[in-house]
Amino acid sequence: MQEREVTIVPEEGLHARPAAEFVKEAKSYDSDIKVIKDDKEANAKSSLNLMSLGAKQGDKLTIRAEGEDEEAAADALAELITQAEPEA
């Protein structure tokens, strides 16, 4: 299992558009990936789930990946959410 503690940088937090990009990236890994905010846990491959965290800019999240490619997945997603400009 790999965990990364991150603080959300994009202004839009994890709203529809950034969530969709995040999900797309998450789906490219086989690992089971969770995003945890406070006591709420969301499936990183579900934008509905992610959006229901209501995660805003500046919120602290934990990204937890478990599986074959857990390290690469955790790194890539942590980087994505700490970039100032989410890639279009």
Partner: protein
């Protein structure tokens, strides 16, 4: 009401909102509630029904991603992003799990997807974060499309229109008309609306016929196969007989000839028979319309509505983003003047990131310049973007909803501030003329005070009529009170022209009246120097001017 029998012709009378005629298949855009066919299923159907749901998702996903692609090709990046997000939502694993669980409890898949979608929608709506609250509609939209697919109904989304059709709808929002693929709408027939509602304005700028405000008769036409529409005379006929069709086709030819005849007026400078120069310009709502407008013979832009930049998005447009759009329009028109109206919204439209109170009368509320002056962080980026675009063309800035000279002075001070800041930052900007909309009786009556502050007036007749006659421009029962030919309105326009003449500034008209052949000669007599209208009306207006 008499029930329409299948195949029998049904006549619908409404407002002649946009000229032209057409006959074509019916496309019903029904934004009403979608009811599941079945609520429950039996134990042995569970597996098949889950599969049915999965197949529906498989069918919806490519449609959504194709729409995103199409939007992207048309340069519509914001719309494309919305459909990207919808594509992702449709194949969301949590959505599928939620549906599967309900189906296992013997709920029908169509009922399950609507229910799960609604659960998430409610959750988002309750988040007290306005961006997230807006996502509630995204989830509902996607859930409805999947449910419709499960039930074997075609989703009624206008973006899926793939055969040229006459669109029937209770009402059409700007986002609805924007989603219609080019060339696919032959005409619009709506139950609600008036000549100045959005669908009418859009139809005229797209040069397709529209009849609006036909009332509840419309519903009887939902089952019809074809509809004939005559937008110039304000009627539509469902399941028309042979005679009607040949009448419409004959009219189509006549209109085609009239268009050809008007062709020669397109690119002439408009002058009255005694040689007075009248500028005939276009009203635009987006940069994409600029080329079309020039082709119709626009001698400038008399009204560029900047609201479209601010609508239906998650955040306010940045100064740079606005600058790109304004510059594109300014460059397209070169030396020809382009008048940008600064943001004019109120409580009737959502503005991302701006806390708007719920108001009983948004048209008499905190809107337009009233809002902008109180939120410099909203107003200044727009003013700076406009000043910067002025380095690339003949840009003029116009303020809406003005009722006194103090508002104009405050707005001009903000422009000064913006100039200073641009200068300090070493950013290139150009000179602009500043003008105001005359759309309140107060502005017309105080025109001589206002004239001291500005370089031009533009009379917005739609609102001036609404405010002068106390008649809501969207209220179909008040159609007889929506004309600019009321003596009170003409008197106010006359006063505005007199004050302008005295101060040595010019007056334009940018409402519906500017394109009304019956009114144009009156407006010119009163002293109006510029007429601005939806682009397809320009050739005819030039002809009317030349005969005045």
């Amino acid at each position: 009401m008499v029930e329409k029998k299948a195949g029998e012709a049904l006549r619908m009378e409404g407002v002649a909102a946009s000229e032209g005629v057409a006959v074509g298949p019916v496309f019903v855009h029904d934004a009403g509630e979608l009811e599941p066919d079945r609520t429950s299923i039996s134990e042995e159907e569970v597996e098949d029904e889950i599969k049915r749901f999965e197949e529906a998702v498989q069918a919806v996903v490519p449609k959504l991603s194709e729409t995103a692609e199409k939007m992207r090709e048309q340069g519509n990046e914001d719309e494309a992003a919305i459909f990207d997000a919808h594509t992702e939502l449709a194949q969301d694993p949590e959505l599928a799990d939620g549906v599967a669980e309900r189906v296992k409890n013997l709920e029908s898949p169509e009922s399950a997807i609507l229910a799960v979608g609604e659960e998430y929608a409610q959750m988002f709506a309750n988040m007290e974060d306005e961006y997230m609250a807006a996502r509630a509609d995204d989830v509902r939209d996607v859930a409805r499309q999947i449910a419709a697919e499960v039930m074997g109904e075609s989703a009624s989304g206008l973006e899926f229109l793939d055969e040229p059709s006459v669109v029937l709808a209770h009402s059409l929002a700007p986002s609805d008309t924007a989603r219609v693929p080019k060339g696919m709408a032959l005409g619009f027939v709506t139950a609600e609306g008036s000549k100045t509602s959005h669908v009418s304005i859009m139809a005229r700028s797209m040069a397709i016929p529209a009849v609006v405000g036909v009332g509840s008769t419309l519903e009887e036409a939902f089952e019809a196969e074809t509809v004939a529409i005559n937008g110039g005379e304000g009627y539509a006929i469902a399941d028309p007989d042979e005679d009607t069709i040949s009448d419409i086709e004959k009219r189509e030819k006549e209109l085609e000839e009239e268009r050809k005849e008007l062709e020669e007026y397109k690119h002439v400078e408009a002058r009255t028979s005694d040689g007075r120069r009248i500028e005939v310009s276009a009203n635009l709502g987006s940069a994409a319309e600029a080329e079309d407008a020039l082709e119709w013979g626009a001698e400038g832009v008399g009204l560029f509505r900047t609201e479209f930049l601010f609508m239906e998005r998650d955040e306010l447009p940045t100064e740079d983003e606005q600058y790109e759009v304004y510059r594109e329009v300014a460059e397209a028109f070169g030396e020809k003047p382009v008048i940008f109206r600064t943001l004019d919204v109120g409580g009737d439209k959502d503005l991302p990131g701006v806390e708007q109170p719920v108001e009983e009368n948004p048209f008499l509320g905190w809107r337009g310049i009233r809002m902008c002056l109180e939120i410099p962080e909203l107003f200044k980026p727009q003013l700076k973007a406009l000043l910067r675009s002025a380095a690339h063309g003949n840009v003029k800035i116009m303020f809406p909803m003005i009722v006194n000279a103090e508002e104009v002075r405050q707005a001009k001070e903000l422009i000064e501030e913006c100039r200073g800041e641009l200068e300090d930052a070493g950013t290139e900007f150009g000179a602009v003329d500043v003008g105001v909309m005359v759309e309140t009786p107060a502005a017309a009556i105080c025109a001589s005070d206002l004239a001291k502050e500005v370089a031009f007036f533009s009379v917005g007749t739609n609102d001036l009529v609404q405010y002068t006659l106390a008649a809501d421009r969207g209220n179909e029962r008040l159609r007889h009170l929506q004309g600019a030919d009321h003596p009170a309105v003409l008197d106010l326009i006359g006063k505005t022209c007199e004050a302008a003449e005295e101060a040595g500034i010019w007056v334009g008209v940018c409402g519906e009246a500017a394109a009304d052949p019956g009114l144009v000669p009156r407006l010119i007599e009163l002293g109006v120097k510029e007429l601005s209208m939806s682009a397809p009306s320009i050739p005819k207006a030039k002809k009317v001017v030349s005969e005045t």
